[in-house]
Amino acid sequence: MLAKKRLFELCLFGMLCLAVVAPGAVRASDSLTVEKGFESFCREWMQIVTKFAAKKMQYRKADQGFIAEYDGFSDTFSTKVKLADAAKKTYVGILSYNEVRFRHHGMTPDAAKKGPFDIVSQSPVKAIFMYRNGQWQN
């Protein structure tokens, strides 16, 4: 009888611990999923803009040959996610990367286009996104 009572008390204690820890664990798991989702979202976003940037390459005639130039993006980026509204499960994601101006000199337009390109200048950019209705929004 006494052993049963002890067992009941221990179970009660265990359930109490679970009730305290579980909601936090679920929230942490949600945040982790949203953060991972943002990383893949940003990777895709960076791929799209990088691919498109190369299409906007411009040529100009130099003293000797041609100069090809375009505004592209850094290979690396970093992300940060903040909870904006816990009730609505809204998050704000910040993607940090560099805008990079690439340039290459060649004797013909094709040679200039081939590269390899030099980095002329870089400037930091923060792109801010929002997570609503279960997805990151463009």
């Binding site: 052993a3 067992l7 008390e9 221990l10 509204d85 809204t90 400037s123 930091p124 801010i128 463009n138």
Partner: protein, 238 residues
Amino acid sequence: MVYEFKFKDFVGKEFNKNPLTYLKKEENMKSKAIVLMVAALFVFTGCSTMSKRAKCACVGAAAGAAVGGTAGAIIGDMGPTHDNRLGGGIIGGAAGALIGGITGYLVCKDEPKPEPVVAAAPVCDKIVINSVQFDFDKAEIKAEYYPILDEAAAALQKPECAGKNVTIEGNTCDMGPEKYNQKLSEKRAAAAKDYLVGKGLAAERFTAVGNGEANPIADNKTKKGRMMNRRVEFKVAE
């Protein structure tokens, strides 16, 4: 005169022994419990500053200690004298901590540190906002998008940006007439400016302009590309 002491333990079982022995035992248990609590506190405090892998080992050890300790106490309590709870708890806790710690260490791996993207000296970044969607033919910013603009406002108020002039550029996709898109982009840039000024940022810092559909960052042939092109950029003057 002989006094007979009758004590009750924590579950109400009557305890009839030399009171000094009982008190010593109780004191001993208390001190052990305090030592365990202090140790747990050290473990958790230490965990917060560790690497991911060490944290996992730490959390695993703590969870293992809790489970092992409880199990050990239950097993220790099963004997006829019910007096091995503490011993069982300690042995179980230690074994649980060891198993949990090793498991936690093996399961998690430290993530490689990302290469720094931005230069060390603080620079006022250009800010791009994509997720603010406007209703068709509208330039009002809906309340649900305020957190994004609040983030932009906070960035523009940082010391490295303070007092610097900012050009707010509105951009559209290529759907619809060009002149219409030009006007729409101007209105959207102006709406973003109004919001920031409403947040207490100095109006004279901002110039709102519209690029229309002239400055895409993605292909207008796809729906995703068009969404990416409908954006507002905050360019800070050097």
